[in-house]
């Protein structure tokens, strides 16, 4: 019995030592080239839209993002690499898109931006793009440690009629083929991403909902505490990996 346990532990440590890998490297060379060339990367259209929105007042009486934050290349540099972060006012983790929604409502006094709406995706893409090439560096405060622990719990829980956890595919079987497709390790290095399947840009939460529907589970709501927790866990899991926004994925 002891020998079996030792053998299992040895397997576990070998699996844990495997190199983390961005889904970028699992794509066809043409798709990789599309991501690497800004003139071919369709996600850059969202980044450019976001740049325009950054400088525009939502209503004439209010301030634009740039009025407070100035040049995003300076003020927003590496910010996305540190999200989700703990929001003291709400006493909960908040993701980058959630922070933009919050800023829009409380500082700009403008109508809230809808999750997955084009404006929010554009602004989030623009802000996250300022961290392209930077290592993911999640904050290590107690609030975020708690959020990551909750996220890990969800990641390990079997869900839906198909009774599969995130970990069973993206930890245990990453690199193998689900039908024709390589299962990625599931690192959120490039969000918002331009997904060929979507023919558009979408958030990590949209991608997570896709997987949940795939296992025939009821997806968590956009902006829910559960999604913030999973995002926090995934960013912790990808700590040190380089941000790619806007990434292309199949």
């Amino acid at each position: 019995m002891k020998r079996i346990i030792l053998a299992l532990l040895a397997c576990a440590s070998v699996a844990g030592a495997e190199e983390r890998r961005s889904g970028l490297l699992d794509m066809r060379p043409e798709a990789q080239a599309m991501q690497r060339d800004d003139s071919m990367n369709p996600g850059m259209l969202w980044v450019l839209d976001g740049e325009a929105l950054w400088g525009r007042k939502p209503t004439p009486a209010t301030q634009s993002c740039a009025d407070c934050h100035g040049d995003a290349a300076v003020s927003m540099r590496d910010v996305a690499a540190r999200y989700p972060a703990f929001d003291i006012a709400r006493g909960a983790a908040i993701d980058l898109a959630g922070r933009i929604i919050q800023c829009r409502e409380t500082r700009q006094g403008a109508a809230p931006l809808a999750r997955e709406g084009q404006e929010l995706l554009a602004l989030t893409s623009f802000v996250a793009h300022q961290s392209r090439g930077s290592p993911i560096a999640p904050p290590d405060d107690a609030g975020m440690r708690a959020a990551r622990a909750q996220g890990r719990e969800i990641f390990m829980t079997r869900l839906g009629q198909l009774d599969l956890s995130c970990a069973q595919c993206h930890d245990d079987h990453a690199g193998q083929r689900l039908a024709g497709s390589i299962i990625p390790q599931g690192h959120p290095t490039g969000y918002p991403i331009y997904r060929l399947e979507w023919q558009g840009v979408g958030s990590l939460q949209r991608r997570l909902r896709g997987c949940m529907v795939g296992v025939r589970a009821e997806p968590f709501a956009y902006g829910s505490a559960e999604f913030m927790a999973i995002e926090a866990y995934l960013m912790g899991r990808a700590r040190g990996m380089v941000l790619e926004t806007p990434a292309i994925r199949p």
């Binding site: 019995m1 839906g160 198909l162 009774d163 083929r177 589970a217």
Partner: protein, 150 residues
């Protein structure tokens, strides 16, 4: 550790009947010997269920002798020769609820509705395959005798 799980699940399997959608199949050892419908399934319908990516979606994980299907998974053993590796009763239980054989299995329980989390409303309280569909798939798998994996 795995041995303990196996023995525990085997003990459990011997005592508790598998129930779903009004159908009962008594588990004996690691098998359900009796047809869930009282009759044999239809192998042609079973094959169609296996390759259907919304119905049985078996080829997401398994490969098998389905030359017209280009995208087959490699997360699980090939279905080729399944009928010579297992008895009909063993295959029936593995289809109905493979986690009774191996609790760590990634294979969905195709004919169990209890013990699941957050099942979407469309699929709630329904097994993935009905009793008749289980028998159809079984009829096809039994016929996969001694074929080599492609």
């Amino acid at each position: 550790m795995k041995l303990a799980w196996f023995l525990a699940s085997l003990l459990l399997a011997m005592a508790v009947p598998v129930m779903a959608s009004g159908q009962a199949g008594m588990v004996t050892g690691d098998a359900v010997a009796q047809s869930l419908t009282g009759s044999a399934g239809d192998a042609a319908r079973g094959r169609a269920i296996i390759v259907d990516r919304q119905k049985g979606f078996c080829l997401l994980c398994h490969s098998g002798p389905f030359n017209e299907e280009p995208l087959q998974g490699n997360l699980a053993p090939s279905l080729a020769g399944a009928g010579s590796r297992w008895t009909e009763g063993q295959l029936r239980l593995r289809l109905m609820d493979n986690k009774r054989i191996n609790p760590e299995s990634i294979m969905p329980a195709y004919h169990r509705i209890e013990g699941l989390n957050r099942v979407g409303p469309v699929w709630r309280d329904k097994p993935i395959l009905t009793a008749a569909e289980i028998e159809d798939v079984l009829a096809f798998l039994i016929g996969l005798q001694g074929e080599r994996a492609p």
